[in-house]
């Protein structure tokens, strides 16, 4: 009665082989590598680039152990971190700013394992080191920004429709246009309502005149917010690419939040600075008619506003924006060829170039201010006099204090602006040495605990203890194999969950062994006792695991970050333990005792 049909042994053997194969990559460790990916995701990564990388490395005599195409990037492996850093410099210089060259670690497992998609477990940031940010988009600001845009649009629209209007004011998200007569107001209401269908207009007659107030419809508001979030994610992705991080994660979370994970980033202060900056560029004309003394006192003439400039003085700039950062297609740091000052060379898109050409032609000998707007505060970084018409869409901006600043400004301009400011609402940084230590600690906790349990089981249950211990070890293999296959994130709490599930998994074997002992005590033959022990334990094992599974699933559902890692491992561990503790250990008992017809004694 204690014999499995052949197919059952084969099935168990097959699962063991698969589990072993997928566990294997975790034992090979990692080798230093350099990852090359294009800054713009639309650009192709192909064998041509692969060849270029190889020839660059060969030309400068950097020894490499392999170059491969992996998804949207190229990874080159090296023998040591020294070579890796040299290779990074070589590649970055050779490939230019169109490509991000980042240091990375790749699995050292042989290629055939990669071919069957056997990868090492995906380690969480607490095990590999890195930064986790949760950023919240300021949706109120996004709506206000949209309202400001409408303010400008109304102005243009009414002007082109030749409807006379007074002031256009804004309070929060509501934009109010003032009129002298009712007819003007009604004409404007007709005109604007057809052009801006997603706004709700309310006319009001007041003592001092007639007004028309526009508010965004709820759907329009939602759209603005969604757009702001998407735009911010795109911008963050660009900025992260510029930072040169291997395998970054940038994901939306909820309606207004973005998760950014940067594994292996060492300079967290720099990362935080670049991610959080909201810089955008505006080009406006300087109001040359303004009274210098009033400007110095901070009083803006009509149609202009005062912005501070780098040297501490005030400049009056016109409210009309000539160009914004949206027109920028590229920005590179460099130096002014005449003065040798740090500069940013900006390229404009076709429309921007045309506008810029027109404006410069019409305003020769007047000054033009370049404003850098950060966190809602504008600063004129430079306000040069226009000497001549500037065509071709290439603009040089000077006024940066250092080359570093020029390169930061260039990065921000290149990556685009954030649609709305963002705030870091959660940060988890783990230093690289701590990550390695956490792995060691988690590993030790598991190994020592496992050893102690095995010693106890073998001492207490003898041969059946050996079965139980082997089943427990196999459970560990299954769990690691499953985690590797699913590429679920393994965190330090996840490693704790491995230990915990191993401790709990032995429960099933204790149940079985105790039941066999009881059957023996009640006078069953050894064969019958084994059979009854396994058959009857199954129901209880199932029962006992369901409650823990309920806890695990709830934690996965409601938990975040590391807790989720704990929950995943807990749930998977319960599932694998049911298979290994019952079926696998039964197979071992059957193989050992099943064929002995006259079995007189069990070692239990």
């Amino acid at each position: 009665m204690n014999r499995f049909p052949l197919w059952k042994y084969l099935l168990i053997g097959f699962t063991l082989v698969v589990a072993f194969l997928y566990t294997l990559p975790n034992f090979f460790g990692e080798v230093p590598a350099v990852q090359v990916s294009p800054v713009r995701t639309s650009e192709k990564v192909d064998t041509a680039l692969l060849g270029e990388v190889e020839s660059l490395l060969r030309a400068s005599g950097v020894p490499y152990s392999g170059v491969e195409l992996a998804g949207s990037s190229i990874k080159a492996r090296f023998a040591s971190t020294d070579v890796q850093i040299r290779a990074k410099d070589v590649l970055q210089n050779g490939l230019g700013p169109r490509y991000t060259v980042a240091l990375n670690l790749v699995s050292a497992s042989p290629a055939w394992l990669g071919a069957i998609n056997a990868l090492p477990m995906y380690l969480g940031l607490d095990l590999r080191g890195g930064v986790h940010f949760l950023l919240e988009v300021d949706m109120k600001a996004a709506l206000e920004k949209a309202a400001i845009r409408y303010q400008n649009d109304f102005r243009t629209e009414l002007r082109s429709a030749k409807i006379r209007y007074g002031r256009i004011t804004r309070e929060g998200n509501a934009v109010t246009v003032h009129f002298a007569t009712r007819d003007q107001r009604d004409a404007a209401a007709n005109k604007l309502a057809t052009t801006f269908a997603d706004l709700a207009f309310t006319p009001e007659d007041q003592a001092e005149g007639f007004t028309l107030t526009a508010r965004m419809q709820p759907e329009a508001e939602k759209q603005v917010q969604e757009f702001a979030l998407q735009q911010n994610i795109t911008t963050l992705r660009n900025r992260v690419n510029e930072l040169g991080v291997a395998e970054p994660v940038i994901q939306q979370q909820g309606a207004s939040r973005v998760v950014v994970q940067l594994p292996g980033v060492q300079d967290t202060a720099k990362a935080k600075d670049i991610l959080g900056r909201t810089a955008t560029l505006e080009i406006r004309l300087v109001d040359e008619m303004a009274d210098p003394t009033l400007v110095a006192q901070g009083q803006a003439p009509f149609g202009a506003e005062i912005v501070p400039s780098r040297d501490g003085s005030n400049i009056a700039v016109k409210k009309d924006v000539v160009l914004t950062g949206d027109s920028i297609t590229d920005a590179a740091p460099g130096f002014d060829s005449q003065s040798g000052q740090a500069a940013v060379h900006v390229s404009l898109d076709g429309k921007g170039a045309r506008i810029f050409k027109d404006v410069t032609r019409e305003n020769v000998n007047k000054r033009m201010a370049i404003l850098l707007i950060e966190k809602g505060i504008a600063e004129a970084i430079t306000a040069p006099v226009i000497r001549e018409e500037i065509g071709g869409g290439r603009v040089q901006i000077t006024g940066m204090e250092t080359a570093q600043e020029a390169s930061d400004v260039a990065l921000l301009l290149r990556a685009g602006a954030l649609a709305a400011p963002m705030q870091i609402v959660e940060e988890r940084t783990v230093g690289p040495s701590m990550g390695a230590e956490n792995i060691a600690k988690g590993f030790n906790a598991n190994i020592w605990g496992f050893t102690a349990v095995v010693i106890f089981m073998i001492f207490y249950y003898r041969v059946f203890g050996i079965f139980s211990s082997l089943a427990l070890a196999i459970n560990g293999f299954f769990l690691i194999a499953l985690l590797s296959m699913l590429q679920a994130t393994l965190t330090l709490p996840g490693m704790a969950a491995i230990a915990l599930t191993l401790g709990m998994a032995i429960d099933a074997n204790v149940l079985i062994n105790e039941r066999i002992r009881e059957e023996l005590r009640n006078g069953s033959t050894p064969q019958a006792a084994i059979s009854a022990g396994y058959e009857r334990a199954w129901g209880t094992i199932l029962d006992a695991n369901v409650t823990t599974l309920i806890a695990g699933v709830s934690l996965f559902w409601l938990g975040s970050g590391p807790v989720r890692g704990f929950a995943v491992v807990l749930c998977l561990g319960i599932l694998t333990s049911m298979f290994s503790a019952v079926t696998v250990s039964r197979a071992m008992a059957n193989l050992t005792y099943g064929r002995q017809a006259r079995l007189a004694k069990l070692s239990i």
Binding site: T268, A269, K272, D273, P421, Q423, I424, V425, E426, E427, T429, V430, G431, S433, E437, N438, K441, G442, A445, G449, A452, V453, M457, F459, Y460, L492, P493, A496, A497, A499, G503, M504, I506, D507, V510, L511, E514, R517, E518, R536, A537, G539, T540, A544, V546, T547, T548, I550, A551, S554, L555, W557, L558, G559, S560, G561, V563, F566, A567, I604
Partner: protein, 310 residues
């Protein structure tokens, strides 16, 4: 055959009802008092704020560290050793405004300026809003686990078992929280995860005993209910101690080798496992008796259930 717990005779657990109720009530009241009087020392996960762990390449001079940090002008900084004399833990309360995330940068800049041999090990910054959300979802998770398990027990057995099992194990949870409050150990997200896992784990202990009680009710027709329960507990005792023992071995291993990060997690599990043995045997079953479980609850509907184990 080695047996540590060769209980052949039925141990009269139910006659100790008064004593166990008294013990439970006392520890429970103690825990409630500790929670009330001292409160949980909630970690940065729940309160918001910043925790920075740094390591020096030489034993850290806490006075110098404090001095360096005072220059930043940040309020209410606490500095303490963490683990070894070279590791320092710096805590800052939550600050309003967008600059909160910059705090860790400021701190690191000040520390590096004062002593270049400092290395950043870890930063946890949680904004007040996120902290509140984590707190809420933690409480919700506890509720969901409790309700989920009760529904399961009610379906699997009947409502008296569900309520008795849940009360017994909630009593464990309160005691874990009470001990954490009494010693002012830091209560973090990971500890919460451990508490919930142990809740599921302890309940399965009650399931095993309940299984046996149900089996006995059908088998031992002539016996009184208290005796039936006594018998069920006695027969499952050996298994209870061995499985809890082996789980405890793993948890102790975490406590000793897992480092500071898993320390409180392992402590919570240890308390949970120890009280789990006690409560599922000596709290759940008397409660069952108190709720008036009767033979008729099981005999009348002839349901086909597989026999319980152990």
């Amino acid at each position: 055959m080695i047996e540590f717990f060769p209980f052949r005779k039925t141990i009269p657990f139910m006659s100790w009802g008064k004593a166990t109720t008294a013990i439970s009530l006392l520890t429970f009241l103690f825990s409630v008092w500790a929670l009330w009087d001292r409160g949980l020392n909630l970690g940065v996960d729940f309160t918001g704020g910043t925790v920075i762990e740094v390591a020096y390449d030489h034993p850290a001079d806490l006075v110098a560290v404090r001095g360096a940090l005072e220059k930043t002008g940040l309020p209410e900084i606490t500095v303490q050793n963490f683990g070894t004399s070279r590791d320092v833990l710096i805590r800052l309360p939550v600050r309003g405004g967008g600059s909160a995330a910059e705090t860790s940068n400021q701190v690191m800049a000040a520390l590096t300026a004062a002593d270049a041999g400092v290395e950043l090990r870890r930063v946890d910054f949680v904004g007040p809003q996120v902290g509140k959300e984590l707190y809420d979802s933690g409480a919700l998770a506890l509720l969901v686990v409790v309700i989920g398990i009760m529904i399961y027990l009610a379906i699997r057995f009947e409502w008296r078992f569900a309520v008795a099992g849940m009360l017994a194990n909630l009593h464990d949870i309160i005691i874990i929280l009470g001990v954490f409050a009494f010693f002012q150990w830091e209560f973090t997200l990971t500890v919460l995860a451990g508490v919930l896992a142990i809740l599921g784990y302890s309940v399965n202990e009650s399931v095993v005993i309940f299984d046996r009680i149900r089996e006995n009710i059908r088998k031992l027709r002539g016996e009184t209910i208290p005796h039936i329960i006594d018998d069920a507990i006695t027969r499952t005792m050996s298994r209870t101690i061995i499985t809890h023992g082996s789980t405890q071995i793993m948890v102790l291993s975490m406590l000793f080798f897992g480092g500071e990060a898993l320390h409180n997690f392992a402590l919570a599990l240890t308390i949970g496992i120890l009280f789990g043995i006690y409560s599922s045997t000596l709290v759940a079953s008397p409660l069952l008796l108190m709720f008036g479980v009767k033979r008729e609850h099981f005999i009348k509907p002839v349901e086909k259930k597989e026999e319980a184990v152990v």
